[in-house]
């Protein structure tokens, strides 16, 4: 025992190196999977306040561009509103009120890492919870993984653990969307049944299966169809409709019946 302690003390530099590396790697590996990042993300009000102060200054740049986007979106919403009035259907009242939208501002984000996140200026005080969807004015953006009283942290679509259930809009076939860590404007459509031929420009929308995003939110359009990687499934490249680099304002989507649906499913899985 004594010799062991003497040995360790003699090599304290190397021992400390091993301890610190083991500690770092444990932290890193633990935060790597999607479910772990739901519990271990380091969102808190301290980092939030610092980024907020920064954003207060930096936010003035690009206001003109931002205004333009908001005006465009308003126009779109007015159009949608009009259609809804003309096609009121009492059967769908439940479905329509199932999702509750909140607007939020992105106060910090990145696109150049392998795992990217968005920091939003609303937190549990404003009713934010984990596993809410985040969409920009043009399409899907991410999923909330951490909430503090005043801020929330969302895993961007540009993240290795992100896998969004989607549909090909023209024929309703189910596929999945991933990001391969290369270009922040492009992602991959995987699990396409190989008898389905995709063309350039085909829209890919959310399937609604995950209960995080409502059905039919645009994710992007196909830019290149790659022939089957194996016998049954093929892949395609998708251009994301959200510009993650310039995104400033987003909407968070709360699914009010998600908990109910999850509990029900869990009951029958076990």
């Amino acid at each position: 025992m004594r010799t062991l302690i003497v040995f360790l003390w003699k090599h304290q530099f190397f021992v400390l190196f091993i301890i610190l590396e083991a500690l770092s790697l444990t932290l890193f590996v633990n935060s790597y999977s999607y479910h772990r990042s739901l519990t271990s993300s380091t969102v808190n009000d301290v980092t939030g306040i610092i980024y907020m102060a920064y954003d207060n200054v930096a936010g003035y740049f690009g206001l003109r561009e931002e205004n333009k986007k908001l005006v465009n979106e308003n126009t779109q919403l007015k159009n949608v509103h009009h259609i809804n009035i003309s096609e009121t259907d009492t059967q769908f009242t439940v479905r329509d009120s199932q999702y509750y939208y909140r607007s939020a501002k992105v106060i910090s984000s990145s696109v150049n890492r392998q795992n990217n996140y968005l920091l939003l200026n609303k937190g549990s005080k404003q009713g934010m919870k984990t596993e809410m969807g985040v969409v920009s004015s043009t399409g899907v953006a991410g999923i909330v993984v951490g909430v503090s009283p005043n801020f929330s942290y969302a895993m961007s679509l540009l993240h290795h653990n992100m896998r969004v259930s989607a549909r090909i809009k023209k024929n309703n076939h189910l596929v999945n969307i991933l990001w391969d860590g290369m270009d922040y404007r492009r992602g991959r459509v995987v699990d396409i049944p190989s008898h389905i031929q995709l063309n350039e420009g085909d829209s890919i929308v959310t399937s609604g299966n995950s209960l995080v995003f409502p059905e039919g939110v645009l994710i992007g359009t196909v830019s290149k169809y790659l022939h089957s990687t194996n016998k049954d499934l093929s892949e395609a490249i998708i251009n994301f409709s959200t510009d993650f680099n310039s995104m400033k304002y987003v909407y968070t989507i709360e699914n009010r019946v998600k908990k109910e649906a999850d509990t029900l499913m869990l009951k029958y899985v076990e």
């Binding site: 500690l23 770092s24 890193f28 935060s31 969102v43 890492r113």
Partner: protein
């Protein structure tokens, strides 16, 4: 002596803030991610207690991780770099005599020597960082080019910072 502490604390704070608030938000294509905060570790006194060096590296990395939500990633890479720092100094500057508190900066090892020293350690740090970040070995060529490009940009930025902040010697 207290001057040494003050200088290092100011250096730590300004490098971390610059990294977190400005560089982390800059998008110079996905291949180039400069991480200049490691300059703090490069400039710690050459004869600093080795274990202290590792602890400082760990804390610096963890601070960066804390702001970027990459828990453990930068800590692991920075500790690894700090671990190799002593050998790098030994190999390159065996004939330079460092007194207690002497930093391996321009004054001691000249700009050329510092460039060599920074380039090697930045490369070590970035290799560990980017390989860990990707976490797999397919597309390894892609990771390699990220390492190479980012190493060059980080080293260039570190040299610029050193040139700007190294006081010019007064001639008597």
């Amino acid at each position: 002596m207290s001057n040494l502490y003050v200088r290092n604390i100011v250096r730590f704070l300004s490098l971390v803030l610059f990294q977190v608030l400005i560089l982390n938000h800059m998008n110079l294509s996905g291949y180039i991610n400069p991480y200049i905060y490691i300059l703090f570790i490069l400039l710690l006194p050459a004869r600093i207690n080795k274990s202290m060096l590792l602890l400082f590296a760990f804390l610096t990395g963890l601070t960066i991780d804390y702001f970027g939500n990459t828990l453990g990633l930068h800590a692991a890479a920075t500790v690894f770099m700090a671990f190799t720092r002593l050998s790098v100094i030994k190999v390159f500057f065996n004939n330079v005599e460092f007194l207690t508190g002497d930093e391996p900066g321009f004054a001691k090892i000249k700009a050329g020597g510092f460039l060599k020293y920074a380039l090697v350690l930045v490369f070590i740090h970035h290799s560990a960082l980017f390989i860990l970040e990707v976490f797999d070995f397919h597309e390894f060529l892609n990771t390699l080019s990220r390492i190479a490009l980012s190493t060059l940009v980080t080293t260039a930025m570190i040299m610029i910072i050193m040139l700007v902040f190294t006081p010019v010697k007064r001639k008597n």
